[in-house]
């Protein structure tokens, strides 16, 4: 019973975070990935007010809600409103950028260490029906109940509350009735953010500690809770939160704390497979764009073969020993690794239009497969690499299969859960994966009897892999596979009625992308000689999406360019890890603003330049740019 109570307390926090997420999803159709960061900000404000200033907890709660509400207003202004009417991926990435910025700022200000917090509440406890109940338990439960009841009445009975509900059910119709939907959206964001902030204070007071990194985990749990309940359903968010809290607590009591993530994401994935709209999700309200995908259509940049050859030669330069420092070549290897991983997203997103927020899972599969095969079974590196890719392909296909019938935001969340679940399983499956300690002393790659023991040699191997994968991606895109994928991307219903077996082609896209990600993972494991589960967390999945999208997904070169900018460029800021993350977040936000279709994508400038410098007629110049948005 004590376990259930503890679960309810945690579940309460999830419920508050999930409520905020669901409210925002209802009004804007957008998953606010920064919601967890607001939780962390709330906790820190709470710490500052109670512990540094010595003021009472209720004042801390008010302060946290005010600060996070203001942040919510800002988030809407910079990360959501500017992207209204654009491809949804823009605001997904923008809220991820905000998340990174907030977390990095928090770390810069508060430092990475865990701090004790004085809640100022009496530690007295009393017995009720054989249960030991602490004062703080009562405070948390009562506050949440009062708050949820308040929110429900606000939405039900007030003019602004009705406007919020109307806007989330039919934005356009609400606008026609004269509902100021922009103000409604700002308001919803502020309320949602304040809920997250409050949850932060309450949980900090309960555990009497704060840690700047807890926001990310809680944010994911909140998303799991909101999805369990049904995205957009507020009652569902509360039920989902409490349910998740209790199930987690029971699971942790049985299997230990390390099982927490496995339970969270396992429950989430299982629920999506069994109930594609969550427990209370509605089918009547369409919360997602009916046609189109996460990604915007754009034009491919085509460059002449001599330029491709020049780029290949330039890329091969670091192979010449002594030309660059070992450090620079090392960064090059890093760029190649992420470019490989991002190419897996290029297939999935650029071709089939599917968003995967779980590619790190596929990378992990490849990395563990290769590590185990080369270390324990002595399989030669190249064979193991190929098998690692195949392993990634098979597992990703199998795991993606039950998600076929999901629609809207749910497939993306399913991929997020899949990726996180793979990492969580790796974390606890000691006998196979080494658990939290990971696998070390993975043999260095050796190819045809040559051991690759320098950065230069690793670069050479990576470069060959990269060229091979680019070639594969090109081939697949230009074959009938690519044609069918693009048909699915443009209009899945139409594709299906035209006889394209869409589920099969979608899972083929997941499979091939799993193959590439697996190769990337194998290369990762081989070059570092050490892996553990925390490397492959959802942040890596986000990083992969960011590189692929911002590089440009219509051509394999986009992923490489993206990796050069987002991995290589950020090396310039390596003097401070949180400073670097901050820069990363800001660069990301700017790129989404100014190059939402990716760096290596034609927005018209390229065509004009090309027309000016070549003497071809307009008609010819246009015809060489295959318009990717149209179905051939």
């Amino acid at each position: 019973m004590d376990t259930v109570l503890a679960g309810l307390i945690n579940g309460n926090a999830y419920a508050l975070v999930a409520l905020g997420l669901s409210l925002v999803i209802g009004v804007t159709g957008i998953i606010n990935f920064a919601q967890g960061s607001l939780f962390a900000v709330g906790a820190m404000v709470g710490w500052f007010v109670t512990t540094s200033l010595g003021l009472p907890l209720w004042l801390a709660a008010v302060a946290a809600m005010v600060v996070t509400a203001l942040l919510g207003w800002v988030i809407n202004r910079v990360a959501v409103k500017p992207f209204a009417g654009k491809a949804p991926i823009a605001s997904v990435l923008a809220t991820i950028a905000i998340m990174i910025i907030l977390d990095a700022t928090a770390e810069l200000i508060f430092g990475p260490e865990i701090r004790p917090m004085a809640s100022g509440l009496p530690t007295a406890s009393f017995q009720l029906l054989g249960l030991r109940i602490n004062a703080i338990d009562m405070v948390i439960l009562c506050t949440s109940v009062v708050l949820m009841a308040g929110l429900a009445s606000f939405l039900r009975w007030t003019r602004f509350g009705r406007a919020i509900r109307a806007t989330s059910q039919d934005r356009e119709a609400a606008a026609q009735m004269g509902v100021p939907i922009n103000r409604v959206q700002s308001g919803a964001f502020m309320i949602a953010s304040a809920l997250g902030g409050l949850a932060g204070v309450l949980v900090a007071a309960y555990f009497t500690t704060i840690s700047p990194t807890q926001g990310f985990t809680v944010g994911l749990a909140g998303l799991a809770a909101a999805t369990l309940g049904g995205l957009g359903s507020l009652l569902g968010a509360v039920i989902g939160g409490l349910l998740l809290g209790v199930v987690e607590a029971l699971g942790v009591a049985t299997f230990g704390d390390s099982a927490r993530q496995v339970i969270t994401f396992g429950v989430l994935l299982g629920c999506l497979w069994l109930r594609p709209h969550g427990l209370l999700g509605s089918r009547s309200v369409k919360r997602e764009p009916l046609t189109g995908t996460f990604f915007s259509a754009a034009r491919k940049i085509t460059i002449p073969p001599w330029a491709v050859a020049a780029l290949v030669v330039a890329g091969a330069l670091p192979i010449i020993p002594g030309l660059f420092s070992g450090y620079v070549v090392g960064v090059g290897v890093q760029i190649i690794t992420f470019a490989l991983a991002a190419l897996s997203m290029t297939i999935l997103g650029g071709q089939a239009g599917q968003l995967s927020l779980g590619q790190a899972g596929a990378v992990a599969l490849g990395a563990y497969a290769l590590a185990i095969m080369t270390k324990s079974a002595g399989v030669p590196f190249l064979v193991a690499l190929l098998l690692a890719g195949i392993f990634g392909a098979v597992v990703m296909t199998v795991l993606a299969t039950p998600s076929w019938r999901l629609s809207g935001h749910y497939p993306a969340i399913a991929t997020l859960a899949t990726g996180a679940l793979i990492a969580a399983v790796a974390q606890v499956w000691d006998p196979v994966t080494g658990g939290g300690a990971g696998i070390s002393l993975i043999p260095l790659p050796s190819v045809f009897g040559v051991q690759l023991d320098s950065n230069t040699m690793l670069y050479a191997l990576g470069f060959v892999l990269l060229l091979t994968v680019c070639w594969l991606v090109r081939r697949w895109s230009n074959s009938h596979l690519g044609l069918y994928w693009r048909a699915i991307r443009e209009d899945e219903t139409a594709a299906r009625s035209a006889g394209v077996p869409t589920p099969q082609y979608k899972s083929l896209a997941f499979g091939l992308s799993g193959f590439i990600a697996g190769i990337a993972g194998g290369f990762w494991a081989g070059q570092y000689g050490y892996i553990n589960a925390t490397i492959f967390n959802p942040l890596m999945s986000f990083q992969i999406v960011i590189i692929a999208v911002l590089g440009g997904m219509l051509s394999p070169f986009g992923a490489i360019l993206g990796s050069i900018v987002m991995v290589g460029g950020l090396e310039l800021f390596r003097f401070s890890s949180s400073g670097r993350l901050l820069v990363y977040g800001v660069v990301l936000l700017l790129l989404i603003h100014f190059r939402p279709q990716g760096l290596w994508t034609d927005t018209g400038t390229w065509s004009r330049l090309k027309q000016r410098f070549t003497r071809r007629s307009t008609a010819e110049a246009v015809s060489t740019h295959e318009h990717e948005g149209a179905l051939a």
Binding site: R159, A166, Q176, M177, G178, S284, V285
Partner: protein, 244 residues
């Protein structure tokens, strides 16, 4: 006599990107009139209605409503000045109760709860079917009932003009008659002007006083309903449009 007009739309132009959706569209509505805008699929009818509600920006042209230009106004402003709308395909709020749907219709009003309550009651008198289901969720009602709710919701803002986007679309013939009847009642009994966008010329002309015919963003024909209904060109315009 422009000062007698409730609405005077002059030379409206709208572009979607490079696409010229409305080209010099002009029309007027006098107080108490039912004016219909006729046109086939995708010729710009909904766009015309949205310019009136400030939901689509004009590239050029001006709309004078009730003596003042709407140029600098928001949708909320024009709604509170007296333009209500019945959206295409009704678009009631599916998970809200009938009563809440009506209250959203009154969102722009500032004359107090009591007055709004009285108007909710008035809608229930006008549409007894809705009164029976005031706490029912709107999404569970039939198409005809949803259409009535959409009318009632529009009336909640106390409009001088209601614009309706294809109010008979997708309804059974018997229900269509009821809808046309209701539009006439709103017009005659409440003295509210109606701007009715329709594809079905025959239906629209049976209750409209005047009409405009829109073909690919251009007004090609206009006049009294009695003349238009006999005009051979209207059939031509329609057939031509439908073939395109």
């Amino acid at each position: 006599m422009p000062s007698d007009l409730l609405l005077d739309a002059r030379n409206l132009n709208v572009h979607y990107g490079h696409f010229h959706a409305l080209q010099d569209v002009s029309y007027t509505i006098a107080p108490g009139e039912i004016v219909s805008l006729l046109g086939g699929n995708a010729c710009g009818k909904s766009t015309t209605m949205k310019t009136l509600l400030q939901l689509v920006p004009l590239t050029s042209g001006e709309i004078i409503f009730d003596g003042a230009s709407t140029a600098s106004e928001s949708t909320a402003d024009v709604v509170s000045r007296g333009i209500a709308s019945v959206p295409e395909a009704r678009r009631v709020f599916p998970e809200m109760t009938i009563e809440d749907n009506l209250l959203v219709g009154a969102h722009t009003r500032r004359d107090g709860r009591a007055a709004i309550r009285r108007d909710v009651a008035a809608q229930f008198d006008l549409f007894p079917r809705l009164a029976e289901r005031r706490t029912q969720v709107a999404g569970t009602m039939s198409g005809g009932e949803q259409q009535m709710l959409a009318f009632a919701r529009a009336l909640m803002s106390r409009p001088k003009l209601i614009c309706m986007d294809e109010p008979t679309m997708g309804l059974a013939p018997k229900i269509v008659d009821q809808v046309l009847d209701t539009i006439q009642r709103i017009n005659r009994e409440l003295g509210i002007s109606v701007f009715m966008v329709e594809q079905n010329a025959e239906l629209a002309l049976s209750i409209a006083h005047r009409a405009y015919v829109l073909v690919n963003g251009v007004v090609t024909l206009s006049g009294g309903a009695n003349e238009l209904i006999r005009d051979p060109r209207i059939r031509e315009a329609y057939l031509g449009q439908k073939a395109a």
